[in-house]
């Protein structure tokens, strides 16, 4: 492994991990506040990308960067107000189901409006090209822009939660919603704001993730399960845990897809004869890049066996 590969993969992994964090932070915030596992969270991510595509065609990318997340956030708030709040009284499972139904619906609507194939959502000219060249390999501006936006978002969410009045109310409503309500705050409205805010964060991730990676109807499903893995591995409801787990999984996936080591190769270099007659050869011949898609889920299973509450979680159940 040469230093060039190491540094570039590290940077790519961190930028992907930060994108994951933009998604998982909203999810974990919504979960710890309302107890709702928002199955449609990555649908909002997809909507963000598609909205940004349409808006940037009309008025350019930079206005879209602000308008698209706001639109997605408004949709999220409307969904919370008129749908999620209705089923709240039935318990957690119907809440989860209603978001599950929404994810179905959003997928169909997206395919209906924008078609079933990839849309050409490209980077603006300012973000095209490499930011710097390291050992002859280029690091694209778009990835560094993701890192910048994610860090700014992290900072502003942190400031909002700890330094503002509404942030204090949100934090209080996390732990003692009844008491906060008794003190005269409109807790359902706080819930609506948090849900809308989480959706807007997912939308923002979609705006910058959609043109760096790819904008297609499958983008919600492809990242959806990974985000759930992040939330469980980091510990349910822990923002810091979600941050750690996002980076971990971002790095894990980026490094894994580039490595073609296999068990068979490892055994051969130890001097053992491994042919296609050896017992378990289909397993031995798999390279790390081939098993890359399952690594996050494997991590999830291992985490549940050895540390069920997650990296930084406090809840055992």
């Amino acid at each position: 492994m040469n230093p060039e590969f190491l540094v570039i993969s590290l940077l790519n992994g961190v930028s992907y991990g930060l994108l994951l964090f933009m998604l998982s932070s909203g999810l974990t915030l919504i979960f710890s506040m309302m107890g709702v596992l928002n199955f449609a969270h990555t649908s909002f991510y997809m909507l963000g990308a598609y909205f940004a595509y349409s808006i940037s065609k009309a008025v350019g990318f930079w206005p879209a960067l602000f308008v698209a997340p706001l639109l997605v956030g408004a949709l999220g708030a409307v969904f919370e107000r008129y749908s999620l709040r209705r089923v709240h009284k039935f318990g957690h499972v119907p809440e989860l189901l209603v978001t599950f139904g929404l994810s179905y619906l959003v997928l169909e609507l997206v395919q209906l409006v924008w078609g079933r194939s990839t849309v050409p959502y490209g980077l603006p000219t300012q973000l095209q090209g490499p930011l710097f060249t390291l050992y002859g390999t280029q690091f694209p501006k778009s990835r560094s822009f993701i890192m910048l936006v994610a860090l700014l978002m992290l900072l502003s969410v942190w400031l909002l939660l700890t330094r503002t009045r509404i942030g204090l109310v949100i934090q209080a409503a996390l732990k003692h919603p009844d008491m906060v309500e008794a003190l005269g705050h409109n807790v359902p409205r706080v819930f609506m704001l948090v849900f809308g805010g989480g959706a807007a964060l997912a939308g923002l991730a979609g705006v910058i993730g959609g043109n760096t990676y790819i904008t297609e109807p499958a983008m919600a499903a492809s990242v959806g399960s990974i985000v759930f893995v992040v939330v469980v591995v980091g510990g349910m409801g822990s923002l810091a845990g979600a941050f750690l787990a996002s980076l971990l999984i971002g790095l894990l996936q980026t490094f894994a897809v580039a490595l073609d080591w296999s068990l068979a190769g490892g055994l051969r270099s130890l001097g053992m004869a491994v042919t296609d007659q050896t017992f378990g050869y289909p397993l031995l011949k798999l390279t790390i890049s081939q098993v890359a898609p399952i690594l996050p889920y494997l991590l999830l299973v291992l985490m549940l066996i050895f540390r069920p509450k997650g990296l930084l979680g406090t809840r055992e159940d």
């Binding site: 596992l37 189901l97 929404l102 179905y104 169909e108 399960s225 399952i294 889920y297």
Partner: protein, 434 residues
């Protein structure tokens, strides 16, 4: 000894249990005689094994409160083991499992995989359980594509169900014989799963769903109750998967173990009704009708399905089964008649709204997918023109009128409905005090 009833039972079911089960057996037996077309026979076969699968899913969702997003793992792996067992039996020198026992092989496979994977998933409950099953579902689905030797890659594994000695003179080549094999398994498995609801484990499962903390205090290990129930659900899921393998003679990894398929089982079990034992059976019937007939009728069927699901979760979280049972209760107390005009008004409003919504959706789909076919779209005997504003305005107008009618009807209906419920409660109290 006759213990006082400790759980809620619907009286008509108890009195007529024998009659109901006989009717169920009769329906399974005569259905292919009434509907003789080959399409009907295919659908009936699918309904048969999907009933088993949806009921097994409901052991988790309805009886255990465990929302699983990975049920297709157990049906799919059951299918794969079954198809390999069939191929092995057809080879010379392989283990000869007769075809009638292949579903049991699938069931055992489901049981073993549920025992292994369930050990991890059932450590948690509630939302975390849901996420972990989703993770395991993705894990197995992507693993399946990694081992083409076993899962057959993109093309899947094919098989031939006609092999070995005949069973009672049947070789299971014709679809009708396969249907009856499925029907017998369906009846037996339904009976077994119903019996499971009455066992101590089944009862404890309900308790774990309702109040796990209290169950722990009594001295039960909730994790173990969930685990054992999960294994049983896995067994029946595998039986259903094995029957599916026999029915289609092909199993593909991209479809059988996919997370999308798990989502389908969840959706339809819920639509049918998770709170009653027979709800998932309705769900299985709906699943086949939706995926075979509705998908033929319109390209937008997934959209309609998603909408129906959302409306159901929001307004009737007990599914169709609970709607049926609530109305049966009203009927039994003789208070159904005053509700009839309300139902008629609801129906009219719903139909008008549906017609408007369907017109809009179909026109959108037409614009998106069939633009090459020209602007005309036949719809309910009318011809809509997607390039003229009139069609759009008309459709939206119909939708708006329908929604307004529906909302007005719903408000009036809710008043009458709660009046009827109050009267029933009153009647029950009077009976108690008398």
């Amino acid at each position: 000894m006759h213990a006082p009833s400790t759980h809620y039972r619907f009286q008509p079911l108890n009195i007529g249990r024998f009659v109901l089960w006989s009717l169920f057996a009769l329906a399974l037996a005569v259905a292919p005689l009434l509907f003789t077309s080959s399409l009907a026979l295919t659908m009936l076969s699918q309904i048969g094994y999907l009933i088993i699968i949806c009921l097994s899913y409901n052991i988790l969702l309805g009886q255990g409160g465990m929302l699983s997003f990975g049920h297709a793992v157990y049906t799919g792996l059951g299918s794969f083991i079954a198809v390999h067992a069939m191929n092995m039996a057809a080879r010379q020198g392989g283990l000869q499992v007769p075809l009638v026992l292949i579903p049991a092989v699938g069931g055992l496979a489901g049981l073993v995989f549920a025992a292994v994977l369930g050990f991890v998933t059932t450590r948690k409950s509630g939302t975390t359980f849901a996420m972990i099953t989703l993770g395991i579902g993705e894990l197995v689905a992507s693993m399946a594509l990694m081992f083409p030797e076993f899962f057959g890659g993109e093309g899947g594994i094919t098989s031939d169900r006609v092999y070995g000695a005949k069973f009672l003179g049947l070789d299971f080549g014709p679809q009708i014989q396969v249907y009856y094999l499925i029907a017998v398994y369906c009846f037996v498995c339904t009976g077994l799963m119903f019996a499971f609801t009455g066992t101590p484990l089944g009862r404890m499962l309900n308790a774990v769903r309702d109040n796990p903390e209290r169950v722990e205090f009594i001295g039960y290990n909730t994790q173990r109750v969930r685990y054992f129930s999960f294994i049983i659900a896995g067994f029946f899921a595998g039986v259903g998967g094995g029957l599916a393998a026999i029915n289609f003679e092909i199993v593909t990894a991209a479809d059988s173990v996919s997370v999308l398929r798990s989502g389908g089982y969840l959706l339809f079990t819920f639509l049918g009704g998770a709170t009653f034992f027979f709800g998932p059976m309705i769900g299985a019937v709906l699943l086949v009708f939706a995926s075979v007939l509705l998908s033929e009728l319109t390209k937008a069927w997934l959209l309609y399905l998603g909408l129906a699901f959302l409306v159901m979760v929001m307004y009737a979280p007990g599914g169709i089964a609970s709607l049926v049972m609530m109305n049966l209760r009203v009927l039994r107390f003789g208070r159904f008649k005053p509700l009839l005009p309300g139902y008629a008004a609801l129906l009219v409003g719903a139909l008008v709204a549906l017609a408007g919504a369907a017109a809009v959706i179909e026109m959108l789909y037409h614009v998106q997918l069939n633009a090459a076919l020209g602007p005309e779209l036949p719809f309910l005997g009318l011809t809509l023109h997607v390039d003229r504003a009139m069609s759009w305005v008309g459709a939206v107008l119909v939708l708006a009128v329908g929604l307004a009618l529906l909302e007005a009807a719903r408000r009036r209906f809710m008043l009458r409905w709660s009046a009827a419920q109050e009267a029933i409660e009153h009647q029950l109290r009077m009976k108690e005090s008398a």
